[in-house]
Symmetry: C2
Subunit: 248 residues, 2 copies
């Protein structure tokens, strides 16, 4: 694939994902949004609710990619340690942000901003708030790290709020064609097409559906003309091998 200028990593913070209790869907959702904005998602990590693990991952990913998006661990309970961990990663003190506190007070009623609720207003020094139109308690941005909630509905609202501020390249598009030819029969001619089109990223993904085996051949890139040309070549290859290309 042609290198896009902007890269990103997703950091999922949460024991509930690593215990198998919760099936993560945030990664796939963010990935889809980044593709649309021409930002290449280059890596994702899932770490437990352990401060040193979060700190190490944030530092590694923040140094390497244009943007880091974290999900999870910004609520009011004892296992919500993301804000403190991010503060440590950036060597910044963490305190109650006056504007975040005002939003929580407005929501819960003056005088009802208990210490637990004000925990959700704690952000590292120098961070800016990320709006939460669903449940008020904000996320925050510090440096190139965007700290968001883990609940999908809240995370999505937060992301859509910050998306206009992200710098991307031309949208990464993909085209896909499926067939029932075994991958091993496709491998050689498909590799030849890939070799002729280094600017397009061609993937081959076998599947089982309704008891039948098949494969999806996916072309990704930023040049629609090149994508169309590659998909046409793949479709012709499938026909030459005696198969029927099915556009997906």
């Amino acid at each position: 694939m042609s290198a896009s200028l902007s890269t990103a990593a997703v950091l999922i913070i949460g024991n509930e994902i690593l215990s198998g209790r919760t099936q993560d869907t945030n990664l796939g959702w963010i990935a889809g949004r980044l593709v649309e904005r021409g930002i290449r998602l280059a890596e994702a990590r899932v770490v437990p609710d352990i401060e040193e693990e979060i700190v190490a991952a944030v530092r590694a990913l923040s140094a390497r990619y244009s943007y880091v998006f974290t999900t999870g661990g910004i609520g009011p309970t004892h296992d919500d340690i993301t804000a403190d961990s991010i503060g440590k990663a950036f060597d910044r003190p963490v305190g109650v942000d006056p504007e975040a506190a005002r939003r929580l007070e407005r929501h819960y009623g003056v005088g009802n901003a208990t210490p637990a609720r004000l925990r959700m207003a704690r952000i590292p020094e120098g961070a800016t708030l990320i709006d939460n139109p669903v449940s008020v308690a904000p996320g925050f941005r510090i440096g190139n790290v965007f700290v968001m909630a883990g609940v999908p509905r809240i995370m999505q609202a937060m992301f859509d709020g910050i998306a206009p501020s992200l710098t991307g390249g031309p949208p990464i598009q993909q085209r896909s064609v499926a067939c029932h030819i075994p991958e091993s029969a496709l491998a050689e001619p498909l590799g030849a097409i890939q070799a002729r089109h280094p600017e397009i990223d061609i993937g081959s993904y076998p599947w089982f559906r309704n008891g039948a085996a098949g494969v999806s051949l996916v072309a990704r890139g930023t040049d629609p003309g090149a994508l169309d040309a590659v998909i046409a070549q793949i479709a012709r290859m499938i026909e030459e091998l005696g198969g029927t290309p099915v556009m997906e």
Copy 2:
């Protein structure tokens, strides 16, 4: 949570996950199996089909955890670079394994083991095969790294084949109770319960279902008696706060 002796990491190899095209389900499935075997899944990463990324991740995870499970990239096409990358990570040459080649020949018919098919028999020197009862082409184990297919059905069959060889501790169990009390009202008494039971890992997970907001309080650990005690305390806490605990 009480430290279990065995730890694990999952490494998901595949552009299709990072592009948002495919929703990964392998992580959650493996997580569930590891919990049953008393192995703590401590980290997961998703990397693209880029050799140096795979090499770096395998080395980092293999050095740190008891077991590493990789998924994806072991098919016959040009984007299947896992075997070569793992070989490089362990500084071992990669070649066609005679037994793997025999299995493929038996499956495809003698004389039909094309170069593309034999690509699926390539494993690093010193690796041992992981059986593939679904589609024959094997995975492999080298050191503490288990290399499996990305197609869930195949990965699951491979994992269940190797599972008896894994050394775990007592199964990690979890109990969960839900209520409609806001997390911020639960935070303080819940934190006190956690402080009294450091051997149990208590998590608080807010959710929206059918338009209603709620929270699941989850206790994880290896001591069933301690889990029952903690869940009983959490249920009592919910009642004292005026809520109705719902066992999940």
